[in-house]
């Protein structure tokens, strides 16, 4: 180690703490020192001032509205929800809002993938030849149950809840891919309140196109005991190519009227 003589090991530890490289035990030690000693707190604050500007390059990503709802619940606050405000990042920051309104799934699609951190750079408008796919999975009452975004290149899918209907205890939503004229293929279990990332197996990817639909059925928490849906279908939606530019309002989504069980 060729650190200058005036750098005590302590100062280095504070720097390492702020950078984030210490293991859990060492972190806990420093955190304790910061609470107990003004000197430690000052040194850590100085390092924060030095290093935190790196976070400036991290792109803003609007969290889904239900996160604020959960925070209010946990703290038992009664403040009104914060208004969603369009910022200069326009498209990107408005996506959560569109999604929440249940429109523009295709445009939301690309952004969700960005939110998931798939592209490692700051979000920039995606080139039109990137073939993400998306589906708004609608419920019988017309509201959006979930929004699904697929990245066939990486074999990944992100499913974000909109306003799914409540499930009875002991039941959970399972997502299916139904190829045109084919039987449902299980994709995986999703949830009512959290985004789920699913891996798409090659066999499933092969069937993933705009003639297929996505559907959600009511199943036991561990999933359907058979390879086919066993409970009622509560939501479904057509798969479309994700629109990577333009206004979200223009995106038309076909809602397939076919019942899942009819084709099972």
């Amino acid at each position: 180690m060729n650190t200058p003589a005036d750098d005590g090991n302590n100062n280095l530890r504070y720097a390492e703490y702020v950078l984030g490289v210490l293991d859990a035990d060492a972190r806990a030690e420093v955190a304790h020192e910061v609470m107990a000693s003004d000197e430690a707190a000052t040194a850590v604050a100085l390092w924060q001032r030095r290093l935190l500007p790196l976070a400036d390059t991290i792109a803003d990503v609007a969290p889904a509205p239900y996160v604020w709802a959960r925070i209010r619940d946990e703290l038992q606050l009664d403040a009104p929800p914060p208004a969603v405000v369009a910022t200069r990042k326009g498209l990107w920051n408005n996506l959560a809002l569109w999604h929440w309104l249940g429109i523009g799934a295709s445009a939301v699609a690309v952004a969700l993938l960005v939110m998931m951190g798939l592209p490692s750079r700051a979000p920039t408008p995606v080139e039109a030849n990137v073939s993400y796919m998306a589906a708004t999975i609608q419920q019988d009452n017309g509201s959006t149950g979930w929004t699904a975004t697929m990245d066939p290149q990486r074999g990944r899918m992100v499913v974000v809840p909109g306003s799914p209907v409540a499930f009875a205890p002991g039941h959970a939503p399972e997502l299916w891919l139904i190829p045109a004229g084919g039987k449902p293929i299980a994709i995986g279990m999703i949830t009512l309140d959290k985004a789920t990332t699913l891996t798409l197996a090659p066999a499933l990817l092969a069937k993933l196109d705009t003639t297929a639909i996505l559907a959600v059925s009511v199943e036991p928490p561990g999933g359907s005991p058979t390879s086919q849906p066993t409970g009622a279908v509560v939501a479904k939606g057509a798969i479309d190519h994700a629109v990577t530019s333009g206004t979200p309002g223009k995106v038309a989504l076909r809602v397939d009227g076919e019942a899942l069980r009819g084709s099972a």
């Binding site: 650190t3 390492e16 293991d23 910022t87």
Partner: protein
């Protein structure tokens, strides 16, 4: 970034202090103005959207409970909040350490991330100064510092990802930190 101007910093400081006096409206406003920034940070570190949402929730509930201890003389509200979110994210990463070690493919996606020109133009003076000092480091050491900051990885994880001995990684990072300090304190 949406929160870099001095007047905005001051407004956020005021909001956080109001939170310390149990002002729920100020808290809602603070969330509205900072949550996209903090969620970006959380997502960048923990990668999984569901996990990032939980870390964001932990961050704001902790912020509300600890707001009374906020001292604007020591740090700005946004620095305080970003620090809190990074700490929560790192705590979460440490709980899942074993799984993360199994993902070497993450490295190529992340190492030596440079800001895009558009983002660069919007960043703060402090950030530009830090970038200048980072540029003076050896490329591998610069990459390691960035990787560490953006992913919250431990020395062990960094060494594995960069395929160098643990001692080498420690030496790179420590030397970089001391060099950065000298550079930043000179130009401050």
């Amino acid at each position: 970034m949406s929160v870099t101007s001095a007047p905005e910093h001051e407004e956020l400081n005021q909001l956080l202090m109001q939170c310390g006096r149990n002002d729920q409206k100020a808290f809602a406003e603070l969330y509205r103005r900072t949550s996209s920034k903090l969620f970006g940070v959380c997502l960048r570190m923990v990668r999984d959207r569901g996990d990032a949402e939980e870390v964001l929730q932990e961050t704001y509930t902790a912020a509300w409970r600890r707001a009374a201890s906020f001292d604007s003389a020591k740090a700005s509200a946004i620095t305080w909040l970003v620090t809190l979110s990074r700490n929560k994210a790192i705590d979460r990463l440490r709980q899942h350490r074993v799984e993360l070690l199994d993902e070497p493919s993450r490295l190529e996606e992340i190492v030596d991330e440079q800001p895009t020109p558009a983002v660069e133009a919007e960043t703060s003076q402090e950030h530009r100064r830090l970038e200048r000092c980072l540029d003076e480091l050896e490329p591998q050491q610069r990459s390691s510092v960035r990787e560490a900051f953006f992913t919250g990885a431990t020395y062990n994880e960094l060494a594995t990802r960069c395929k160098v001995p643990l001692g080498t990684m420690k030496s790179w990072i420590r030397r970089s930190l001391m060099q950065l300090r000298t550079c930043l304190d000179q130009s401050a």
